[in-house]
């Protein structure tokens, strides 16, 4: 079939182009940009805004160097992503093209990238824990298969190290790495880690480096998640690593700005919440099929920034990394209640008791700064706080099994408190206080 062509671009802006009139392109359908003289393919673009008078496109490879004489060839389909088991071990760009200088991949099928919503009735209530060996996660915020959860951290924190540590130990059939706006060394770090841990053969990397075309960064999660979803539909447990969604949101903000959209908060479009949700909601445990777990990274200056704020309302909790420690106070796994009720009988109560004491200890710590923590109990709390930070909030220590991590909790409590001071029930105290080695 001969594809219809358009011969002239009337408007070229940052990442966007327009053509005059109505060439018959459908919303979200893809066109290919070709050099008029050589017929060489320059880029693909997507129709985002159509009227009788003009049609606007997002150009995947950017608009630098585009001539108004460029030809547009209509493909009559929305953006698709190639899928094949041969993709494992390979690296692709934000629209699913090979990006590792390796041989071309023959795709078995083309996937829609519209990320249509999974019918909620097909979702299973997630009930399978994913153990990480990190006490702050396993004891206090247990991770669950099919959870969507980001690491919140300032850009200088070792969030990629944490992400990689969680991923390498994860019990997944396939790892989909989706990096947006990455620095080259970050990409390299992940690739190394995946190779060293022997996981590279079950990994597909989708990579968008900082400075590359913004639109390709924008489409990357859709392509990566569509591939992950296909694995899940085929019965596999897929783990998706999304880093860093703040970069992605910033691209979204830039493009909204180029499109003259009315900004809501800090220049982000009013649709930020829905756009983030559409990606994160792909995480699911699917009845009669596999699962998709999403662990993301969201860098932030402040928790009140629109990106972490909106993300927090979408994801099933967050791991909050500060000064290299996983902080109990702001970390949360919303799915932990699904799995921590049938572990050890002390799991839930000790979690609550330690958290409550830590909150008191934080208050004592603030009081101490003005010299007001002068009573004996405040001193106990302060010692407990240091112990807790060193032994519970450290994410990069030797991996601990859950039982060992819980035992460590009791040891810490015993070092600092009398039984009644812990707020734990008499029954638990009798069962665990003296029976630990």
């Amino acid at each position: 079939m001969i594809k219809k062509e358009i011969n002239r671009i009337s408007e070229v802006g940052k990442a966007l182009i327009s053509v005059e009139g109505n060439p018959g392109v459908a919303l979200n359908h893809v066109v290919e940009l070709l050099d008029t003289d050589t017929n060489q393919s320059l880029s693909f673009a997507k129709a985002i805004n159509i009227s009788e008078n003009s049609t606007r496109f997002q150009v995947f490879n950017g608009t630098g160097g585009l001539s108004t004489k460029t030809k547009l060839r209509m493909h009559e389909v929305p953006l698709t992503a190639g899928f094949s088991y041969n993709m494992l071990g390979r690296t692709f760009d934000g629209i699913g093209q090979v990006a590792d200088n390796g041989p071309e991949v023959i795709f078995e099928k083309q996937l829609e990238t519209s990320l249509d919503t999974l019918n909620p009735t097909v979702r299973l209530v997630p009930k399978q824990p994913l153990w990480t060996g990190i006490p702050m996660i396993d004891v206090f915020n247990t991770l669950v298969k099919s959870q969507k959860i980001p690491i919140f951290a300032s850009p200088t924190e070792p969030y990629n190290r944490l992400l990689s540590q969680i991923a390498m130990g994860a019990q997944a059939d396939v790892i989909i790495f989706a990096g947006i706006g990455l620095k080259f060394d970050e990409y390299h770090y992940f690739k190394d880690q995946l190779s060293q841990s022997g996981n590279i053969d079950k990994t597909i990397m989708f990579v968008h480096l900082a400075g590359e075309s913004q639109i390709k960064g924008l489409t990357l999660p859709d392509v990566a998640l569509s591939v992950a979803r296909e694995f899940a539909d085929q019965g596999k447990d897929a783990l998706v690593l999304l880093t860093d969604m703040t970069n992605w949101s910033n691209i979204l903000r830039n493009v909204a700005n180029y499109q003259d959209m009315i900004p809501s908060l800090q220049g982000y479009p009013g649709s930020l919440y829905s756009e983030l949700a559409r990606r994160y909601e792909v995480a699911a445990d699917i009845e009669g099929a596999g699962s998709i777990t999403i662990i993301g990274a969201t860098t932030l200056e402040s928790l009140e920034d629109p990106v972490p704020d909106n993300t927090g309302y979408i994801t099933e909790g967050q791991f909050f990394l500060e000064n290299g420690k996983l902080k109990l106070a702001r970390s949360l796994s919303r799915l932990k209640q699904q799995v921590n009720g049938n572990t050890r009988s002390d799991h839930r109560p000790i979690m609550t008791a330690m958290a409550s004491l830590l909150a008191d200890a934080e208050k004592a710590y603030e009081a101490a700064e003005v010299g007001a923590a002068n009573d004996a109990f405040s001193q106990k709390l302060l010692a407990y706080r240091s112990d807790f930070i060193a032994n519970m909030e450290e994410p990069f220590g030797d991996p601990l099994e859950l039982d060992a991590a819980l035992d460590r909790c009791w040891e810490i409590l015993k070092r600092h408190f009398e039984p009644t001071e812990t707020g734990l029930s008499k029954k638990l105290i009798e069962e665990y206080w003296d029976n630990q080695n």
Partner: protein, 591 residues
């Protein structure tokens, strides 16, 4: 609005996200729905604005929002105007249903495809199920909209079959006898005020933005037992009341909603999962089905229906989902039932309006929300209320998700203004895992009556206030300089917080406290507040004394928590007030 027979059509001339412009020739009605034909699929939309078409005399331009994804739409695609506004199908079979935001039943859709594709639809209510109809009127009877023509049993409910509210006056021409019928069969024929014959069935459609009337609106007076102590004691809600429940993420809004679903005493609970996580709605309809309704002992799902327009579903349908849920709530209120509508979250609803008005190019109000958002929020909450005429009520509990956890933002502020109760969740309490994180001292109010006397409620609040003040003092000048009697007051406040306000939503016994138990707790609390505290040896120095007092209170708190988790028999329950008596009178009074 007239239902017209003539087909009215138009064509797309502009497409941007979920917003389209349509050129039409004949006439178009503001707010009517339309179907757009895109690649063989029919997508639903509604008219938002109508403007002249200067280039094409005789034509006009209708601006529409489309409730489904428009990928594949082209200029020129045809649009058919339907003549009716967005409406909801009401009738037997509503309960136990799980729909998307436009009342498509999700289980039925999943038979077609595990994913929700644009253009997929299914009948809102089961059209094959038979209901035992018993007529209540005879030929010749003169009726009006809302009058009962008969009834069918729906679970343990008597579901009244009503004359649609759009009919002002009618005469019964035909009515069937006692018979099993489905919702597509005609049960009566009436002649309406325009002398038109109308066929009445078990179910009918009602426009979602036209409230179903009250029989006789009344003030919400009867307190709801929610099972949550801090609510039922300090910030109660009555049948027909309205509550805003704001909180930053992670403060426990979801657990609160789930707790209310499980334990609040009501005939019907409607959940509008508006723009929130799909998983949370799934937990409700998959796991809660195994739990018991606290009033009837049947499956909890028998009293529920769920509208799941979750966060990844089309934004335009979010607004619709809340109004659809409200209308269903009003319908059951009119039938005489106590309905609680949980809308999670009204902020997502407001954001949907914001996205739309941004696309329409409206001049934005604060934080880019539409200028009239406070009025829209008030209008929505106003649809809740008690109806002494029907004996039913519609209680509206809306969660609010303020950006940055900042309660000064427009939606939270407007909600505070619109509701009778306000449950502000605090980040600090959530950080300290003090759940439920409702902060009784800040942003928590209620105009409704509690299960305990007004003065007791005031007494508890003032004790908490004072204890909080002392806590601040301890943090700034240290414990040493705080007088003993103030320290005791502080410990009393801590005890009320730890043992009464905090509650374990995941513990079978502790999760739900009914009024009888609550009254015993209140008795104990009042004793604790009003008694002087005795200590063993008044000759100690202040520091030692404070340590002893703290230890004594620690013990009390441990005892009380154990009581929360274990006291079940009458005798065990009665042990609480007597334990407090013992506690306060051991040894000599301090002062």
């Amino acid at each position: 609005m007239n239902i017209r027979n003539k087909e009215r059509t138009g064509n797309l001339i502009s497409i941007q996200d979920s917003l389209v412009k349509v050129r039409f020739k004949d006439d178009v009605i503001m707010g009517e729905t339309a179907e757009i034909s895109v690649e063989g699929k029919l997508l639903q939309g509604e008219v938002l604005q109508i403007s002249p078409d200067f280039k094409n005399p005789g034509c006009g331009i209708a601006e529409m929002q489309v409730f489904e994804d428009l990928t594949g739409a082209r200029i020129g695609d045809s649009v058919e105007f339907k003549g009716t506004p967005l409406s909801v199908l009401v009738g037997p079979g509503l309960l136990t249903s799980i729909w998307d935001g436009l009342q498509n039943p999700l289980y039925k859709l999943s038979e077609q495809d595990p994913y929700l594709r644009p253009g997929m639809h299914a009948p809102a209510l089961d059209e094959t199920k038979l209901w035992d109809f018993t007529p209540a009127v005879s030929v010749g009877d003169v009726l009006k909209g809302g009058d009962t023509i008969g009834s069918v049993p729906e679970g343990h409910f008597e579901h009244k079959i009503l004359v649609p509210f759009g009919i002002k006056k009618c005469t019964v021409n035909e009515i069937i006898g006692q018979k099993s019928v489905n919702i597509t069969e005609v049960v009566a024929i009436v002649t309406d005020e325009n002398n038109q014959k109308q066929e009445l069935k078990l179910a009918f459609r009602h426009p979602v933005k036209q409230p179903i009337p009250f029989k006789e609106r009344s003030i919400p007076r009867k307190t709801i037992s929610t099972g949550v102590r801090v609510i039922d004691l300090l910030a109660p809600v009555s049948y027909g009341g309205t509550v805003g429940n704001p909180g930053p993420f992670g403060a426990g809004k979801t657990v609160m909603q789930h707790t209310l679903c499980k334990y609040a005493i009501a005939d019907v609970i409607i959940m509008a999962a508006c723009g929130e996580r799909a998983g949370e709605a799934v937990e409700v309809f998959k796991d809660f089905a195994e739990l018991e309704d606290p009033s009837t002992g049947e499956s909890l799902m028998n009293r529920m229906c769920i509208f799941g327009n979750t966060s990844s579903m089309p934004v335009a349908a979010r607004e619709a989902s809340v109004f659809i849920a409200l209308t269903v709530g009003e319908y059951y209120r009119y039938q005489g039932y106590n309905v609680i509508l949980l809308a999670d979250s009204t902020s997502r609803w407001a954001q949907a309006l914001r996205e739309r008005s941004g696309r329409q190019g409206d001049i934005p109000g604060p934080e880019a929300f539409p200028m009239d958002i406070p009025d829209q929020i008030k209008g929505m909450y106003q649809r809740a209320g008690a109806d002494s005429g029907s004996g039913g009520s519609l209680t509206f509990i809306g969660t609010v998700s303020p950006a940055g956890g900042n309660f000064q933002e427009p939606v939270t502020q407007a909600t505070m203004d619109a509701t009778g109760g306000f449950w502000g969740l605090s980040q600090d309490r959530a950080d300290a895992k003090k759940y439920p994180a409702i902060d009784p001292l800040a942003y928590t109010t209620s105009v409704y009556d509690s299960f305990i006397p007004w003065k007791d409620r005031e007494q508890i609040l003032s004790t908490l206030h004072e204890a909080n003040g002392i806590d601040q003092t301890i943090s700034t000048i240290g414990l040493k300089k705080v007088p003993i009697e103030k320290y005791i007051l502080f410990q009393k406040g801590q005890t009320i917080d730890f043992c009464v306000l905090q509650q374990n939503a995941f513990h079978d016994l502790d999760a739900c406290t009914r009024p009888e138990r609550l009254n015993v707790i209140n008795e104990a609390v009042q004793k604790l507040i009003n008694s002087e505290i005795a200590i063993p040896d008044p000759n100690m120095d202040d520091d030692e004394l404070k340590e002893v007092i703290r230890a004594k209170f620690d013990e009390l708190r441990q005892w009380w928590r154990d009581w929360n988790m274990s006291a079940e028999t009458e005798e065990q329950i009665a042990a609480l007030p007597s334990h407090i008596d013992q506690f306060v009178f051991e040894g000599e009074p301090v002062l």
